[in-house]
Assembly symmetry: D2
Homo-oligomer: 342 residues x 4
């Protein structure tokens, strides 16, 4: 079976497993107070050109989102996000469980438009009764988005300016960050993100790690006593060095971007292959998630050949929108096998 | 440096790392829907002689406690526990963050006495105003306790009967379960625990796994839609098979109890060695945590030789209570080194 | 100044104040355990033809909604409601503060359509990933709605059937219930509501009381230990007899419907008056809230004459939608004054 | 029947009911934005000699405590209080429902000792693992306490200094404030309280009002957007002017202290009467709650004569500790009747 369902189906980059095996019997202090975490944090801050940032390691994306949003906002504040934002749809209400409300905006292929934020703000503060409503207290965006799309540097800057003007933090969910950084034509780098976001996380789970997300807080005043908050949300690993070691490895010699670039190359090959077979694209995605409009008969052929992928939605009577993902672990031969079946 | 501070300082049993490396590029479905999880669950249910139980894998102990207690109780219910219980002291209020209150009982070397529970219940229901108070809705115990002590089978049965009589579930925190099962002279086995507890978890983090706790629910009606609850508490791993693989390994050929027995043997050696040097014991612990009353001068010698351990409390002007832990990973040579320094 | 902004601008029906004054120095037991509460509950159950229902008295609408929804739902469940539902917009996220999520449906002049609920349910349960999402666990409707509109008996029955089929309770917010019951042409009575809703409240604050809402629970199993929940949400009055006395008065000799009918008559007079002056209606409301499209120049005249009303939204360059409310306390002379000014 | 159970058994001071009746048909804007609230706030600030304070009106005591504590603390902070503090025992876990933990201290006849607070703080910050524990983030005291006792000015000042040194607010629950201010020999006045507390509330429910508590915040930065928080906790009254009117009346011409002084005089009469009959006192209380050790046979006589009081605890085989309360509404003749029965 060949799985293109998602980008978290394999384990970790072999160099992570190798180091893990090497140091397995070394003794490390607990809860992220070890040398690997220190080293990884230093490397991440350097990669972000953000020497004054704080870095925290958490285990997963939903956990990171809920912990950050719950801790950063007060009870009278909610988090603005695209109606398609992961926190609004597919995280089982984890934000609401912390007592905070997701305030949804229209999406543009998964992206939030600065004009929509501006209008929301003006309408909210223009309403004489806004004290009876949840205050917009943060803007959440994902990059890449749930549709594989990317913000431009200019778009991030606009959102950042707007957030600054309204004194709310900008938080970027980078579960698939590596694939965004490695995309062709993007002008968004880690330093650009660090300059424009108050908080963001660099996804490990989907980009080479067994698990783990690195939260970067460029405005540490937003998260006082965050260690304790991480603990009380059940997000603190006893063996925190497992996270440090993984991110230290990923941020040594540019491994993180290197393995993401591999996924992008194979996504492009997959894309061109489908295009050559006459498939249309539902979304023009420059990242590792490809949304295709495929004839149902072809999909059936693929299924029978043991290919798996994600159902997105029905397109018309004879076609379906499906998602194929590549990842740091995808082999070129797998793409060849797939394309040969079309 | 030789660390006896705790039992989560090393990585995982080598057979776990080996399997992890072997299957690293296999593709697995996400969120614990994989074959490793299925296999591990079956083995755990067999080891517990509890064919109708449900098993869930979570990442850490605080996370498991807060997720279970938050999900199992209604807002008007709190959780009874020893005043020394981990949830009452050292989990940063994670239970309260879920909106539930820890209701403390006196402790007896970390254990809860059935008479104390009974008296709490009688006082509570005897109070005409108890509707203005938090209902005792669950009993939480740890086995081994935070003091390394163990319940007997008869004690577990008494607590179980009492809980059943008051219609509240009995929940057992088994973060160090393996070391309890392997202790000399105990009559508490996994089936005994399964027969007497409505919910309990088998600790992996401290007993051979990189991380992970296996929650066993013998009364599954207590946790409806628990998958979604796990998700919304940020406790669901994308690569859930990492947990399945680890527990599948630990529950194959009795590995879990075997490696725990090793820790117990070394704890005994450590214990006898200290006793031979004239040290007294603060608590008579049959498990891997040893609480010693040591002369301060001796402790200073140890520290200077690079030995680390946990401070517990001052005993008198010249002595201190300290905790030494062994684990599945402790080498006999380390104990020899330690004892030679005394 | 003459205020038509809302229906909670005056105190209470004089017979309430009179009884309050009469019994002021009588001593009553606390927390709603008094004879007035008992009597009021019996009268409300009789009026609802629901002898097996439970009745609880709370202080205000937002409080009642959040307390009921928080208590009735488990953490994995959210509450379906119209996007214009009061809980979704104007209660400052009180539902989310309890950890529950409002799941919004399109609205039809404030009403929820059974087809929309059905489609939501089918889409939700048809989604293979629905365990990663918040379960629809309750349907919230308001009657009259925030737009002054009313459900028909047939519509309530459809919603009820649908909810029963999906095993979720139907909860009706009756903050303005009296004005709905007294509307011309409605076939919805209190017994009809009690037959079709699992929980609903009869609003006192806006219909003759100083404050207070009577929650009727036709399915009491939904709210175990609700007294304690009311207490812990800060919704329990020490002098609970204040609530009992008010509702006992309102439900004696049909006072509640009588004073609501007065408001409806004056709403009709207001409506006809505006129509006679050539005003159009934004919504065809049979209840005490009237939504008018009025020339801005006319509104300015009214304002200068000391008339207040609610701004709703701009209609076009020269017109605005405004809301005028009548209430149990409105005097006919006030309507005359208003109409004379047009 | 004559009730001495508690101090919330009657309605309101007649001058409140009279004004309520007078203005019943006046129209007021909602949610506390009316002239009565403004006037009451000004009078309260003047009585407290705290011109820069903010005043908010809430409905009840548990509600006020949970709303203030939940809003003021962050999730990693708990509230220190006596183990006998109302929030720790008799408010059904309302503090925990907001996600905050009550951290208990020993009590001294209901009072918190500065030394105990100091020791708690030193132990907490001296513990190397305190980041794994709930931070003490506020000190809660009640005045009068649940035992009718009072702090001295010097004691309040010590607690205030200590709180200031540790940068945590001091919050005083004044549910029975009036009876404390009117006690003989106290040197604690409203200005003294305002100088030493960051937040406190002046109880209305038990001292002359139908309901209502006036929260005074001398450090308003502690409660940003508190209007919205009040709303989302269900504590905002639509007819907020009901609260303003009551407190405006109570703080006109010293009515509040005058009616409290009446209760104190009758408490003294009751006290002397019991003493004359040979009864001992369980606690030496200078306020309206009197704790007596009474022979069981005498209690039975009282009960049969229709006198009610609160059971506190059994004292010995033949005696019981009981509580008798006077209030602003108690008549001297009732005390005479009571004493005659002894």
């Amino acid at each position: 079976m060949l799985r293109f369902d998602s980008d978290y189906m394999e384990g970790a980059h072999p160099s992570i497993l190798q180091r893990l095996t090497e140091i397995n019997f070394n003794q490390n202090p607990g809860y992220g107070t070890d040398a690997y975490c220190d080293s990884a944090k230093a490397k991440i801050k350097a990669a972000c050109a953000a020497p004054n940032a704080e870095v925290h390691f958490l285990v997963g994306g939903t956990q990171t989102n809920a912990t950050v949003i719950g801790a950063c906002l007060r009870s009278y504040e909610g988090v603005l996000c695209a109606e398609t934002g992961h926190i609004a749809c597919h995280e089982a209400g984890a934000v609401e469980v912390t007592g905070r409300k997701a305030l949804t905006l229209p999406h543009h292929l998964g992206k939030v438009a600065a004009e929509d934020v501006k209008q929301y703000m003006e309408t909210f503060y223009g309403d004489a009764n806004h004290d009876h409503m949840v205050f917009p207290g943060m803007l959440y965006i994902s990059h890449p988005t749930e549709f594989g799309t990317l913000y431009t540097k200019a778009e991030l800057e606009s959102l950042h300016e707007l957030c600054a003007a309204y004194h709310i933090p900008l938080y970027l969910d980078g579960a698939r960050m590596g694939y965004g950084l490695a995309a062709k034509g993007t002008d968004v780098t880690l330093p650009v993100i660090a300059q424009n976001c108050d908080l963001f996380y660099i996804g490990g789970t989907k980009v080479g790690a067994l698990f783990g997300e690195a939260l970067v807080v460029t405005n540490p005043a937003l998260l006082p006593h965050f260690f304790t908050v991480i603990k009380q949300r059940g997000a603190l690993m006893a063996k925190g060095w497992l996270l440090g070691l993984q991110f230290d490895t990923l941020f040594t010699d540019g491994l993180y971007e290197k393995i993401a670039a591999h996924a992008i190359e194979l996504a492009e090959k997959l894309r061109n292959g489908f295009a050559a077979k006459g498939c249309n694209f539902y979304i023009d995605s420059p990242t590792n998630q490809q949304f295709l409009i495929v004839e149902d008969t072809k999909l059936e052929t693929l299924r029978q050949a043991g290919i798996s992928f994600s159902f997105w939605e029905k397109y018309d009577a004879a076609h379906t929108v499906v998602r194929f993902c590549t990842s740091w672990a995808t082999e070129e031969a797998s793409i060849d096998t797939l394309l040969a079946l079309l």
